[in-house]
Every structure is written in structure tokens, then in C-alpha cells.
């Protein structure tokens, strides 16, 4: 025991000492930081020698490599390596949130992999562009890819292109037909029906709605629906973001927040809602444990994922978010989402661009994505319609084709990361029924106030 006492006394003595040395080191840290870290800028001249071995690091947020989009992405990469034996593409894949955290790590050390998944949204791409981390792309290189007009806007800044969109995204309500039929419950067409239906499912002991509320990004998009259904206009949130008005005190936003609270009070959100991450919520729905799943159109692969029972796969459908007397079902929360950018520090810019050209050839990404029912490309794809699409896929196309107005980039992605975190946390509180509509709107305004 004596020794312990001695040690702790000694530690006490050291406090002062440690404090002194901290001061000194702090000074060092400052000076060292002033020298910019040496970026690996190798002249591109070496590459002219023909069969030089090239390794491209490819960093993607399509974590599931055996299903859906991740599988297609991987198969295009594999095919490219087959055709170009001198190119090796190393894939690093992480789920959304870990992906973004890791991307920040790479960015802060200026060590971005050669090709990264990016989002054409200010919260993600703007800091990267502003700090000169992304390679400017030449739109002419990708003319034959047939990108939908407007789809590259989010990836552009100052008239320069820094990325290519992979998908057209929109948020829908997936539902399990069998659970509805077996329980004699009708598919909801209006917002109030959605609340009603949720109550009915609860009575039967079935989870009504699930989504990835733990990560939280689907909730603000969901709220955009609620706000549009209350006001009839997606533009109202943009007006707030532009500083023209505020969330607080607006009757429509108030009503929108209330409509979410109504759902919460009807116990519409699945058990464990706030702790369900993407995989958990998707499994809950896919294993028939929840009747509805609020998620993007990229989940068309639900109908083909063999980890789920056949009964589910044959019964999964998609409907637009229910309407109201002001907002129509055809008013869609839609945006051009994920895509790719190339790192400015890449040692092989030409090879990276070449691979991207290959990737975005219409018969590669667009065709495979569509024909496997894994999502909707941001490229023209009408030539690839086969008429053999799954019912779920057809449902999704119908929803998209009938669009009358669209929300564009989700508002949580229009600011900084800090803004986004604050917005998501406010939504988690709202959906978790632990905040009043007034407090919720105030928190949103506080988040907006953080924006430069």
C-alpha cells in the first residue's frame, strides 16, 4: 500500500511539471503546423511508359458489396481490372456515417484516396472544393455518359465540375403488402391515414414504420415532406435557408412538426426507432417485423435480397409519401445524391478519369443499375427499359415519372457538418417525442444561425 500512496503523492508533485512542459510543447505545435504538409505531387510524366502498374484507391460508401448498388459498383471495377491488367483498384467501403467520418480524416490530412464517393451537396463537397482537394473534371470527357441536365449542378462550383452524380434519389414509403392484407389494413394515401394505419398496426402488435433514425439523415427529409404537405410548397425551407424567413412562428412549420408528433404519439415509429441504424432498420423491414420503411429509391434491391424471405420479396412495394389537401403525392422529395470525385492529389489523374469514363458508360453503371433494380441512375436510361422490371421497380419509376414538384438537395446538407448534426439532433428529439413543436422550430433556427 505504501507504494501506492507514494506513487499518487509523486503524481501530485508532477502536475506542476507537466503543466510547464505543456506550455512549451504548445509553442512547438504551432510552428510545426505552419509548414504545409507536403502533398504527394508527382509529375504525371512517368505514366507514359505503357504497362506501368497503377494502383487506384477507391473509397466508397456502398458498404454492401454483395447486394444492390455495391455489387454493381464492384462488378464494374472487376471488369475494368480484367480489361486493364495494369490497373489495380483497391476498394475501401464503409457505411454512410463511418464513411463520412473517415472521409474527413482523409481530407484533414490531405490524403484522399484517388477516387472517392462524394455528394453533390454543400455540406460534403464544398469544404473539399474550397480547400482545393478535388480534381477539376472536363465535362466533355463525360458527354457520352448522358447525364440528366441539372444533375451535375450540385457537383459544380464557380462553373467548374468536381464530381459526377451516380443516382437520382427520392424518398418513398416502402410497405409490406402481406402485412397490410393479412391484417385488413388499407395502404395510406393521406397523412392522416398514415397516422391511422400506424395505430392499427400497433394494435396488432406490429411495428408500423422504421427508418435509420440513429444516423438520422432520413428524418429531416421526412420533415421536408411533412412541411410540404402542410404548406404545399417545398420552397419554404429554402427561403429559411436563404435567411428570408424563420422556422419559428410559421404556422405551416408548426403544423408540420405537429404532424410528426402525431405520428410519434400514435406510436407509429418502430421499437428501438432512435437506436436503429441503416442495417438494423432495413433488416427489421426485410424480415417482416415492420410494415413500412421510409427510405430512398435506392432500396429497389429489397425485392431481390436473398437474405430476406421470399414471402417478403414478393410483397414489398413502394408508395409516395401520403398527400394532404395542400401537398400532392406527386410532390417528391427528390435530389441528385451520391456520386464520385477524384482527388487532386492523385498520382494517376489520367487513369482515374479513364476509369470514371468507363464506369459511367451508359451500358455500365446506368444499364446495370437499372436492370438489376438497384436504383435510378442520374443518366438517361430509357433505352434500357426491358419491361421485365420488378413490381417494386415499376412502382418506383411510376412515382418518379409523375413528379410535379421536387425538393432538391435536402436542407440538412445545405450547411456545414455542425449544422447538419444540430438539425439531425433536433429531429431525433421531435421524432422521439421529447420536444414540443415550438422548441423544435427554435432549435432549427438556432442551427441556421450557426451558418456563416
Amino acid at each position: 500500500m505504501k507504494k501506492w500512496v507514494m506513487i499518487f503523492t509523486a503524481i501530485l508533485m508532477v502536475f506542476t511539471l507537466a503543466a510547464c512542459s505543456s506550455g512549451n510543447n504548445g509553442g512547438n505545435a504551432g510552428t510545426e503546423n505552419e509548414s504545409p504538409s507536403n502533398a504527394p505531387s508527382k509529375p504525371a510524366a512517368e505514366e507514359s511508359k505503357a504497362p506501368e502498374q497503377v494502383t487506384l484507391k477507391f473509397f466508397t460508401a456502398l458498404a454492401d458489396r454483395s447486394n444492390g448498388m455495391g455489387k454493381i459498383e464492384q462488378s464494374i471495377i472487376d471488369a475494368y481490372m480484367q480489361e486493364n491488367p495494369n490497373v489495380k483498384i483497391e476498394v475501401e467501403a464503409l457505411q454512410d456515417e463511418p464513411y463520412k467520418a473517415k472521409a474527413k480524416v482523409y481530407a484533414s490530412t490531405e490524403s484522399l484516396p484517388d477516387i472517392i464517393q462524394s455528394w453533390g451537396q454543400p455540406s460534403f463537397i464544398k469544404p473539399l472544393i474550397d480547400n482545393g482537394l478535388l480534381l477539376e473534371l472536363n465535362p466533355a470527357d463525360f458527354e457520352s455518359s448522358g447525364f440528366i441536365p441539372g444533375s451535375t449542378d450540385g457537383f459544380s462550383q464557380g462553373g467548374k465540375l468536381y464530381g459526377l452524380p451516380r443516382n437520382t434519389d427520392f424518398l418513398v414509403l416502402y410497405y409490406n403488402k402481406k402485412l397490410f392484407d393479412d391484417n385488413g389494413i388499407a395502404v395510406p394515401a393521406t397523412v392522416s391515414e398514415l397516422t391511422e394505419v400506424s395505430k392499427q398496426f400497433r394494435e396488432k402488435g406490429i411495428n408500423p414504420i422504421t427508418t435509420n433514425a440513429m444516423e438520422g439523415w432520413s428524418l429531416p427529409i421526412w420533415f421536408e415532406y411533412a412541411a410540404q404537405r402542410a404548406s404545399g410548397d417545398f420552397g419554404k425551407i429554402d427561403a429559411v435557408m436563404n435567411g428570408e424567413s424563420a422556422f419559428s412562428g410559421d404556422a405551416d412549420f408548426q403544423a408540420a412538426a405537429q404532424s410528426i408528433l402525431d405520428l410519434a404519439e400514435a406510436d407509429a415509429f418502430a421499437d428501438g426507432f432512435l437506436t436503429a441504424d441503416y442495417g438494423t432498420s432495413r433488416n427489421l423491414f426485410g424480415q417482416g417485423q415492420a410494415a413500412m420503411f421510409v427510405m430512398g429509391n435506392w432500396e429497389a434491391g429489397l425485392a431481390t435480397d436473398e437474405n430476406f424471405p421470399e414471402e417478403f420479396r414478393n410483397n414489398v412495394g413502394a408508395i409516395p409519401y401520403p398527400s394532404s389537401d395542400k401537398g400532392k403525392a406527386s410532390d417528391l422529395a427528390a435530389w441528385f445524391g451520391g456520386g464520385y470525385s477524384i482527388s487532386k492529389n492523385t498520382k494517376h489523374p489520367e487513369e482515374a478519369v479513364k476509369f470514371m469514363q468507363y464506369f459511367f458508360k451508359p451500358e455500365n453503371w446506368a444499364k446495370q443499375l437499372w436492370q438489376t433494380g438497384s436504383g435510378t441512375p442520374a443518366q438517361k436510361f430509357d433505352q434500357f427499359l426491358t419491361g421485365e422490371e420488378s413490381a417494386l421497380q415499376k412502382g418506383l419509376v411510376d412515382i418518379f415519372n409523375s413528379t410535379t414538384s421536387a425538393s432538391n438537395t435536402p436542407f440538412l446538407d445545405l450547411g456545414t457538418e455542425e449544422f447538419k448534426t444540430k438539425v439531425m439532433e433536433a429531429h431525433q428529439k421531435l421524432f422521439g417525442n421529447s420536444i414540443t413543436p415550438e422548441e423544435f422550430l427554435k432549435e432549427l433556427d438556432a442551427a441556421v444561425a450557426l451558418l456563416p
Binding site: 509523486a10 508532477v14 504538409s37 454492401d64 458489396r65 457505411q95 442495417g279 433488416n283
Partner: protein, 272 residues
């Protein structure tokens, strides 16, 4: 007698609570993904789903991560053992004025939370180009092993009579000779303890591994479950198989060296 029986029952029940999750883990690693959602608690699979383990090996890159983990952990624990042996000797045998202060500085490491160094070390490793290098893990692992290891080893050294060393020096042995030829074999029990304790903590460490290692090449085993959970998130069976494989090495290691482990904790605490 009755009391004895009651005592045994209580002990068995708690033992079950401590073991149950492990049993459950292994059990479920043999089930198909769909079977997870039934109502049973433990289920005997009709046919054990060895496929889960095959998927774990192929998709989870288990062999590669296993090797990385083994390499990084072993490098760190060996270096930590040698360095703390040297420090222990300097602190218990050498005669110098500042030894109390320096010993205390090192002991400070037992208080410093490892997570407080995550962010600055990240920048630091970037400056010295060590990100994505096994050293980015090995160095902090060693550094954070030193306090407790040095404490245990010096505690043990205090119990060794100095006369042996003195006679060795008479015979012309240098201080280094004394440490590595005479004391090292004698402190073997303490060294073993230190190594095993460090093995278990670093084998299981993943926050640093997740932050400092960026490419697949050097990832360690605990990471495979994170990767697996993302990449094959709907394949529950295989996830459980990976978890079983992460858990087993330390459990086996522990079962083999239970005595050294227990003695280590005894040494670390009682000697104090």
C-alpha cells in the same frame, strides 16, 4: 450442507449469466439469417450453417486481419516488456536523483485517458507520415502499456534479493548483463503477466485501429466486424461467425494462462 447447496446454486447462476452471451453467440453463428427472428432463445440448428464461417473467412478477410492483429499485438507487447524491464531496473536499482519524478511521470499514464490522445495523435502521425502504418498503433500501444507494466515489474524486482546481482557484478558482469542475463529469467513470471495482460487489451483495441489505419492492408481483427456489419449487414449469421472468431483467441489465451493473469492482477494491485 443446505447452505453449501444454496451457495453453489447462486454461483452457477451467475456463472451462467457471465457465459450465456458467449454460448448464445456461438449458437447463433450456426443459424441461417432468417432463423434469428423466431421466438426461441437458443436454437439447435437443423443443419449447422458452416457457410457462415466460410463467408466470414472470404468476405470478412479474417485470415488477413488475424495476421495483422497478431503481428501488431506481439510487436507491441514484446517491446513493452523489454522497455518496462529496463525502466523497472532503473527505478528500483539505479541510484539517481530524479528517479522518483520520472517514475511518477510514467505512472501519470495510468490516469491519462487513451481517448484524449486520439485527435492530437492523429495530426501527429500525419506530420511524421505514420498514418496507415502499423507503427501508428504499435507506438501508442507500447506507450500506454508502460505505466502498468513498469509498476508490476518493479514491484516484482523489489522482491528479488540484490545479493545475486552483486555477486554477478563481482564476476565482471555489466549492468546490461545483469538485466538481460540474470534478472530477465528471474522476472519471467512478472514478464509473462505483463505480456498476457497487454495482449488482451491490445488484441481487443479498435478505436485507435479504426482511426489511425486507413487502408485495408493493416486493419486489425476487431475492425472486421465493423466492416462486416456494414458490407453484409443483412447476413446476421456470418456476423455472428466473425464475432465468434474474434472472441475465441483471447478466451483461449486466457484459459491457457489463467494463473499468470490472476497473478498479474494480484501483482499489480497487492504489491502496491
Amino acid at each position: 450442507m443446505l447452505r453449501k447447496g444454496l451457495l453453489q446454486t447462486v454461483l452457477w447462476m451467475v456463472a451462467l449469466l457471465q457465459l450465456f452471451p458467449l454460448i448464445w453467440l456461438i449458437n447463433y453463428s450456426f443459424l441461417k439469417s432468417g432463423e434469428f427472428f423466431g421466438s426461441g432463445i437458443l436454437k439447435w440448428p437443423q443443419t449447422p450453417e458452416w457457410n457462415n464461417y466460410i463467408s466470414a473467412f472470404t468476405y470478412g478477410s479474417v485470415p488477413k486481419y488475424l495476421w495483422n492483429s497478431a503481428f501488431i499485438t506481439i510487436a507491441a507487447i514484446l517491446a513493452a516488456a523489454v522497455l518496462s524491464l529496463m525502466l523497472g531496473y532503473a527505478f528500483t536499482r539505479m541510484e539517481w536523483r530524479l528517479r522518483g519524478v520520472f517514475m511518477a511521470v510514467i505512472m501519470l499514464g495510468m490516469i491519462v485517458p487513451i481517448h484524449a490522445t486520439l485527435l492530437p495523435n492523429f495530426i501527429l502521425f500525419d506530420w511524421i507520415k505514420l498514418l496507415d502504418n502499423p507503427l501508428a498503433l504499435i507506438l501508442p500501444y507500447i506507450a500506454f502499456s508502460l505505466p502498468i507494466s513498469t509498476l508490476i515489474i518493479s514491484g516484482f524486482m523489489e522482491t528479488i534479493p540484490r545479493s545475486i546481482e552483486e555477486s554477478a557484478v563481482m564476476d565482471g558482469c555489466s549492468v546490461y548483463g545483469v538485466i538481460f542475463r540474470i534478472l530477465m529469467p528471474m522476472t519471467k513470471p512478472a514478464l509473462a503477466t505483463v505480456c498476457i495482460m497487454n495482449f488482451i487489451s491490445w488484441w481487443n483495441e479498435f478505436i485507435m485501429a479504426n482511426t489511425f489505419l486507413t487502408s485495408e492492408t493493416f486493419k486489425t481483427l476487431p475492425f472486421s466486424i465493423m466492416k462486416f456489419a456494414g458490407q453484409y449487414s443483412s447476413n446476421y449469421g456470418a456476423q455472428f461467425a466473425v464475432m465468434t472468431m474474434i472472441a475465441l483467441p483471447t478466451v483461449i489465451m486466457y484459459l491457457l494462462f489463467t494463473e499468470q493473469m490472476s497473478r498479474g492482477i494480484t501483482a499489480g494491485a497487492v504489491k502496491g
